[in-house]
């Protein structure tokens, strides 16, 4: 049983102070390949899906299925070879597209590797400064972001990033992206190698962000957290979309997740074992407790 199941993800949590309106995302027939030793290795093939502003999408798939590549293409770090990424309905080359791209936040896998400044505050300020904000605006955004990730600036602001614990570093790196006030937040395996308490804190942060209206895309192997946090899913297999849209837990859906080296979320399995309709399975332990009471 995975370790984070002891916590309750409250879906109706209070809004974060970031107050951002989410961004709508649409991908049209995206194709991308890597060149290795003069051979093309396709990483994405005809990937198409859309996500409403304020929506939340779990990006699932085995290792090497193209999750990280998709996030980097959406952020614009790699240009798609075919197809297009539409942000709020605008495509590349249209007026204001690069401005929209700046409102996409991408948290890399093990983002603590990117920490470099001499203090936590300086590291978080790096992104906002690149956006050309005034120092007052930068300071406000930094304090807000540090507060949001549970690293109060008065206690952590002047600490050296490398003197923090692994979990604190992960949250600091997240603050570095949140301080840029993204309207679409892409997270690449944010829960990898975190202790249960940090996982709990991180998922609580994501719930608050979602409640504040930020559009979330979460690439993960953790189907239970994906189930708790995301309304929709996109299942990738060797760069192709195997399933997109709402969670579907008929016989077919369970087989599909199993075939991709995943499994059904615990609460869905529980509902199935209890002889209840798995499509009605609760998202959180609180909802489960209520339904079973």
């Amino acid at each position: 049983m995975s370790d984070h199941l002891g916590h309750v993800v409250e879906r109706g949590a209070q809004a974060s102070p970031l107050h951002t309106a989410g961004m709508a995302l649409e991908c049209r027939d995206l194709g991308f390949s890597y060149t290795e030793a003069r051979t093309q290795i396709p990483a994405l093939r005809d990937v198409a899906f859309s996500l409403e502003a304020g929506g939340s999408l779990a990006l699932l798939g085995a290792s090497g299925s193209g999750k990280s590549t998709l996030l980097q293409v959406v952020k614009g770090l790699d240009a798609p070879e075919t197809g297009a990424v539409l942000l709020d309905g605008a495509g590349g080359g249209e007026a204001g597209y690069s401005g929209l791209q700046r409102q996409v936040g991408l948290v890399f896998q093990t983002p603590e590797l990117q920490l470099f400044a001499a203090s936590a505050r300086e590291d978080v300020a790096f992104g906002p400064r690149r956006l050309g904000w005034t120092e007052a605006e930068v300071a406000a955004a930094v304090d807000e972001a540090l507060e949001l990730v549970g690293l109060p600036p008065e206690r952590f602001g002047e600490r050296h990033p490398y003197a923090l614990s692994g979990g604190e570093q992960r949250r600091l790196a997240l603050a570095g992206v949140l301080a840029m006030r993204p309207r679409l937040l892409l997270l690449d395996e944010p829960f990898v190698s975190l202790d249960p308490a940090t996982r709990r804190e991180l998922s609580a942060i994501l719930v608050r962000l979602r409640a504040s209206g930020v559009t979330l895309v979460l690439a993960t192997h953790d189907v239970d957290l994906a189930w708790a946090l995301c309304d929709e899913l996109l299942l990738l297999d060797a760069g192709r979309v195997r399933a997109a849209g709402g969670w579907e837990f008929g016989e077919e859906g369970a087989g599909l997740l199993g075939a991709e080296r995943l499994r059904e979320p615990f609460l869905v399995q529980l509902w199935r074992r209890l002889g209840r309709d798995p499509r009605q399975a609760p998202r959180t332990y609180a909802e489960a407790a209520e339904a079973l009471a």
Binding site: F108, Q114, R130
Partner: protein, 260 residues
């Protein structure tokens, strides 16, 4: 991603299959001989030997070109310096420059010698895995161990350094992407601005490298690595008939080159 330093071209040609030690000895001997002989005839012999090795190696010309390209300015500079300043009877003079047939011939000779040297050296580096070359050098340096030179340890250091070049390049790419996602700009501005833009890349890279070095040292100790003892090898160097033949042919080429 192809490392810029180790320019090995994977292949299975007769040259690739030769022992690293034999190849290193042959190339070193040829390089020395090349500089002992001051005649176009000798140069032609060594160039022919280099050309035969190049054809046998099966390495595409474009890879050789990559080895030559950075050296062309050096060759050009050598040529110019010799043409302009070499002593000899001038057939044309201009200000402080005197063009003479002797000067032209000497400049051409020096430039060609440099090119032949690069050709012969490239055959070695393009057909020999860096690790095999390191092992070969460690073997050749064994007599130095009597003088307490830690040859095996030096070879291991070089091997580890080479092994981690591709890893570091991948990490640099990852860190640069992460910082670009935070708005970093590595492509614009003057040299100072560009150098400053690298700070967010280099700091994490150094931290990561030191951490990795620490972990590697611990892991090696945990697997009983002790400096100063003779290690066995998974792929022992094996010299055969072909390697002996290479040395004989090399000796013949050198004799021919020095005597013609």
């Amino acid at each position: 991603m192809r490392p810029a330093v180790a320019q090995y071209y994977p292949g299975d040609s007769p040259i690739h299959r030769l022992d690293a030690r034999a190849k290193f000895v042959a190339v070193t001997a040829l390089a020395v001989a090349l500089f002992l002989r001051d005649s176009f005839a000798g140069l032609a012999v060594f160039a022919a030997a280099g050309a035969v090795a190049y054809v046998l190696s099966g390495v595409p010309a474009s890879w050789f070109w990559r080895a030559f390209r950075p050296l062309l300015w050096l060759v050009g500079l050598t040529f110019l310096a010799q043409v302009l300043f070499a002593p000899g009877e001038a057939f044309y003079s201009f200000w402080i420059f005197h063009f003479s047939w002797e000067g032209l011939a000497f400049a051409a000779f020096l430039s060609l010698r440099l090119l032949v040297l690069v050709l012969i050296g490239s055959v070695l580096t393009l057909t020999t895995q860096p690790m095999a070359l390191t092992d070969g050098l460690a073997w050749l340096g064994r007599p130095l161990r009597r003088l307490r030179v830690p040859t095996d340890e030096l070879a291991l250091m070089v091997t580890i350094a080479l092994r981690f070049i591709p890893t570091l390049l991948v990490e640099v790419d990852q860190i640069m992407r992460a910082q670009r996602a935070r708005g970093a700009d590595f492509g614009s501005g003057g040299p100072i601005k560009r150098a400053r833009a690298l700070v967010p890349v280099l700091t994490p890279l150094f931290v990561l490298s030191f951490r990795r070095a620490d972990e590697l040292a611990l892991a090696m100790e945990a697997r009983c690595y002790r400096p100063g003892i003779v290690r066995t090898r998974l792929h022992p160097l094996k010299a055969g008939v072909a390697d002996a033949l290479l040395l004989v042919v090399t000796a013949a080429v050198i004799a021919a080159g020095l005597l013609v």
